[in-house]
């Protein structure tokens, strides 16, 4: 079995040898073996190739000289000595010049000759010609998976969330080769024609001037785009920056490290995106009937629902009546599992307003633990709930900035509180509550002290590192230099504000702004953020339970 990784691979050649080919497109579970041999900053796909070779499952492999990472991947694979046949095909950067095609043609000939030597087989031109057939034209609305290669597991997961078909248009999947087959009796083929056909495909971003890629983003049948990037893959990370403002269709950017592990955290975002564009796949179980008999038109205040936001650090409950009034609310730390905390929080919130569990007609859960709570009638992602909740608190809101314990987000909503776009940072601690907590610990302060101490700063201290580990050592050395605490904290606040502000800036400016999440209590951060963004942030008591409010509102619908 010959494995290949790129749509420019001349796979038809192998039909001429009567051997099977297959794209190498499974994401690795982790990089346990690869991490031992390569630098951590090689792209995840490169590592997944090395991992696959080290596992011993891939013996025959054709790579292309796609990018820096792929070249180095080839070097490492070669060094393992674990493959029987390994070929690196050089690939020109554009298919327009005769010389480029001639050059690729020479590579095709080299591949044939090396495979002949390796396998002892003869190349069968007839079988080679038979391998060409035109693909079926695809029709109808779809969700486009664009960007860098998406592993089979990612496609499957995305498909699970959408009612529309998800079309993979990344590296290997869009492969379509058509070549004029000369008369059947031909004993040879033109490698330059073949090279030209390969290069005539819709260019990937790695190609010289990939202007033709616009058609990917402009197809009227494309109802939404999931744009996938892999950490340390610059070509596609950059393409996203180039296209994001030009796209007419809704787009969701996701980043993985090409492990199945990294998929887990994406479920929320992909589901939220499906909700946003109205293409959610709902199975019967999810479509629970609304308990209509519970609603008394005469006395809406007696009709009660609950929203539960099960976050990583805290669990929040809001109980609301049919008049959209908050009857009771509570925040407790999440401990002992999402389900247990949710149950506990709900009961205590009920107790607070003197109501009983049976009086609650409907419960909607949100937050990362939302799917673990058996009590819920439905679950909605925290993105959608935050938008709903923020709209409830401030109807003129257009941008929500949420700084949570583990992540931070910027959400753009329309005049009805529906999500128009959102960005999330959950990859690194910088710009999250966790960052502040770690720095507070380094400084030996409580979070409350951190909140106000930074306000009376004198010297403008700059914490330049975004990475928590580096920032921590910067803080340590500032302390050693006897810098005043308020100055250091002010520097830290600015660093968080820079990270979060950049997230919001990428959404584009549009007010009013609201700040939600646990960090909304931190005065220093509020001030730094307002200065950085040059806007006024709306802050209110309920900002912390924004997600739960949204969930309760969904329960009312």
């Amino acid at each position: 079995m010959i494995y290949y990784v790129c749509k420019y691979t001349p796979v038809e050649v192998f039909a001429g040898f009567h051997v099977e080919t297959k794209p190498l497109e499974h994401m690795a579970a982790d990089f346990e073996h690869a991490d031992r041999v390569v630098h951590a900053n090689l792209c995840g796909f490169g590592k997944s190739v090395i991992e696959a070779v080290l596992s011993g499952n891939v013996k025959e492999l054709v790579l292309v000289n796609c990018c820096d990472s792929m070249r180095r991947t080839y070097d490492h694979v070669k060094k393992t000595g674990l493959t029987d046949f390994l070929f690196l095909m050089d690939l020109p950067h554009d298919g327009h010049s005769f010389c480029s095609n001639e050059k690729l043609g020479r590579e095709i000939r080299r591949l044939i000759s090396e495979y002949e030597t390796y396998s002892g087989k003869k190349f069968d031109v007839k079988a080679f010609f038979q391998a060409f057939h035109s693909g079926k034209a695809k029709e109808g609305p779809y969700i486009g998976m664009l960007g860098v290669r998406a592993g089979a597991e990612l496609i499957e997961m995305a498909q699970g969330a959408f009612s529309l078909p998800v079309r993979n248009e990344t590296c290997v999947s869009g492969r379509e080769i058509w070549m004029d087959v000369p008369d059947v009796e031909s004993t040879d083929f033109s490698e330059i024609d073949y090279a030209r056909s390969l290069m005539a495909q819709l260019p990937c971003r790695r190609m010289g001037r990939p202007g033709a890629r616009n058609q990917l983003f402009m197809d009227p049948n494309c109802k939404g785009v999931i744009y996938h990037t892999i950490k340390f893959c610059d070509f596609y990370g950059f393409e996203y920056a180039e296209i994001k403002d030009k796209l007419e269709v809704p787009v969701l950017k996701i980043e993985t490290d090409y492990t199945t592990q990294s998929l887990g955290q994406l479920t929320t975002r992909i589901e939220a995106f499906a909700e946003t564009i109205g293409a959610v796949k709902r199975n019967d179980e999810m479509k629970r009937e609304i308990k209509e008999n519970g609603f008394d038109m005469e006395h809406p205040e007696k009709f009660l629902v609950a929203g539960i936001d099960s976050g990583s650090t805290s669990t929040d409950v809001v109980i609301m009546n049919g008049n959209r009034e908050i009857v009771s609310s509570l925040i407790i730390p999440t401990g002992g599992g999402a389900a247990l905390s949710a149950e506990k929080c709900l009961l205590e919130a009920l107790e607070k307003c003197g109501k009983k569990r049976e009086e609650i007609a409907r419960i909607v859960t949100t937050g990362y633990g939302r799917n673990y709570i058996a009590d819920g009638d439905e679950s909605v992602t925290e993105i959608t709930c935050h938008a709903k909740g923020a709209h409830y608190l401030l109807p003129s809101v257009r941008t929500i900035i949420d700084i949570g314990g583990q992540d931070s987000k910027a959400i753009r909503v329309d005049e009805n509180g529906a999500v128009k776009n959102f960005l999330m940072n959950d990859k690194c601690a910088a710009g999250t509550g966790r960052f502040l907590e770690m720095m507070a610990r380094t400084l030996g302060l409580s979070l409350e002290e951190m909140s106000s101490l930074g306000l009376d700063w004198k010297e403008d201290v700059v914490i330049s590192s975004m990475c928590t580990v580096f920032a921590e050592s910067e803080v340590v050395s500032l302390v050693a230099q006897n810098k005043a605490l308020p100055d250091i904290i002010h520097g830290l606040n600015n660093s968080v504000a820079a990270k979060v502000g950049a997230l919001a800036a990428r959404l584009g400016e549009e007010g009013d702004y609201i700040l939600t999440g646990g960090v909304a209590k931190n005065k220093g951060i509020i001030k730094a953020l307002e200065e950085k963004m040059n806007v006024k942030l709306y802050i209110c008591e309920e900002a912390q339970i924004c997600g739960a409010i949204g969930a309760a509102l969904f329960a009312l619908q």
């Binding site: 390569v38 900053n41 000289n65 070097d75 610059d234």
Partner: protein, 423 residues
């Protein structure tokens, strides 16, 4: 806060508000810096390196003040035809190093983050893109780029072509080091020559190009002699000087000034003191020239000296003025930065032998996949040949990507190890 830092934070604000003003202020500041250098000469700096600083500063001032006579290029684009046309090339590596040297890289990096450009990209390219996007880096009339040595070029240059709406020329360098590859590149270089003529509105006569190739060849000959002399002789200098060498042997190669510098350098080293007990290092890849612990260890130091970087050594290729295009093409195809790391390993071993290096440091520059990906392989191969090698992680253009403490500890431990081995 020292004066540079003050200048940096003042400029940061300017950049955001008035990029054109910021550029003018930079020019003024660079001119002032030259004045200061003339007045307060550091006695430890040899004449050649003073000239080097002036040359680098002049080039930067020229690019910033007369962008219409310049071109944006990748570092590895042959500079001789540009020199023949009187065009000053500037690469991301050069422009960004200057920005970082002036302590104003932060707003540029910030700008790229705001635009959503990946933080994992090489900071030479990010600072350059940020400088272009904020409007501080001026627009050149055309650009020339190549896939050598990295993908960064393939991202930055097409983006700038679109942004400015300026013409660009791309040189595709094949992976394999073969005659066909050289021919393939030579043909492109011929086209490039015409492209430069068209967009600079200057004629490049055969004679002029030949002259530039001859000058380049002489410059590189002097360089080789200089590197060899480093085995036994020492002259002091700063890390910034070391970085400038990269620009002399690439973007400025073929100019009379670069030649003049190479002559002075050779004459200085031949007059230099014996290397003595200093530990001699070969440096692989770019260098964080602003790093305090590195300055402490290597600048005018009795303890250790960085003699050469593999980027400079790689450039020392002999050229045949009768076959200008083939010569330049060959230099690209056979560069250690093209294709597999084998050539780079071979170059490093040659360079170490040639300069009598005691050890080697691979600077694993964040974002440079081509170097990072090969670092382990290079280290292993050099180790097999008895050349002790340290991999140092950091960032050559973004001070925030370096941890001074770690750099210091690792380098010192490495130097101690090398000394121990000597005993």
């Amino acid at each position: 806060m020292d004066i540079y830092q003050k200048f940096g934070s003042y400029m940061e604000k300017q950049i955001v508000k008035q990029p054109d003003q910021a550029r003018k202020k930079l020019i003024v500041a660079y001119r002032a810096k030259q004045g200061i250098d003339r007045m307060f000469t550091d006695k430890r700096v040899p004449a050649s390196k003073k000239y080097l600083t002036k040359l680098a500063m002049d080039t930067m001032i020229q690019v910033l003040s007369k962008p219409e006579q310049s071109a944006m290029t990748s570092l590895f684009v042959p500079s001789e035809p540009l020199a023949a046309a009187g065009i000053t090339p500037y690469s991301p590596e050069a422009m960004s190093s200057f920005m970082t040297g002036s302590k104003i890289e932060r707003p540029f990096l910030q700008k790229t983050s705001e635009e959503g450009m990946p933080d994992s990209m090489c900071s030479y390219h990010r600072v350059f893109l940020g400088a272009a996007d904020t409007g501080v880096c001026p627009e050149a009339p055309f650009l020339i780029y190549t896939n050598l040595a990295c993908d960064g070029n393939m991202i930055t240059f097409p983006y700038l072509m679109d942004k400015y709406g300026i013409p660009g020329f791309f040189i595709d360098v094949p992976y394999e080091k073969t005659k066909e590859s050289v021919q393939f590149v030579a043909d492109q270089l011929r086209e490039m020559n015409v492209f430069i003529e068209d967009y600079s509105h200057k004629k490049i006569t055969q004679e002029a190009l030949k002259q530039r190739i001859l000058t380049a060849d002489e410059t590189l000959k002097n360089y080789r002699k200089y590197l060899h002399a480093c085995k036994t002789h020492y002259i002091g200098g700063t890390l910034t000087h070391e970085m400038y060498q990269v620009f002399i042997t690439h973007m400025l190669l073929g100019t009379n000034q670069a030649y003049q510098y190479s002559r002075m350098l050779l004459s200085d080293i031949l007059k230099g003191e014996p290397t003595g007990d200093r530990t001699k290092l070969l440096w692989i890849h770019m260098m964080p020239f602003f790093s305090e612990p590195m300055k402490e260890l290597f600048e005018f130091s009795d303890r250790a000296v960085v003699q050469a970087s593999d980027i400079v050594y790689d450039a020392c290729f002999s050229l045949d003025a009768e076959k200008p295009f083939e010569s330049m093409a060959k230099r690209m195809v056979y560069s250690g930065f093209n294709g597999s790391p084998e050539q780079r390993i071979k170059n490093a071993l040659d360079a170490a032998e040639y300069t009598g290096a005691d050890g080697c440091v691979i600077f694993s520059h964040w974002g440079c996949k081509t170097t990072i990906g090969a670092a382990g392989l290079i280290q292993e191969e050099l180790g097999k040949k008895g050349l002790e090698t340290l991999i140092l992680d950091g960032d050559g253009c973004n001070p925030a990507g370096n941890s001074d403490g770690q750099t210091k500890t690792r380098l010192e431990a490495f130097l101690e190890m090398l000394k121990e081995k000597e005993r």
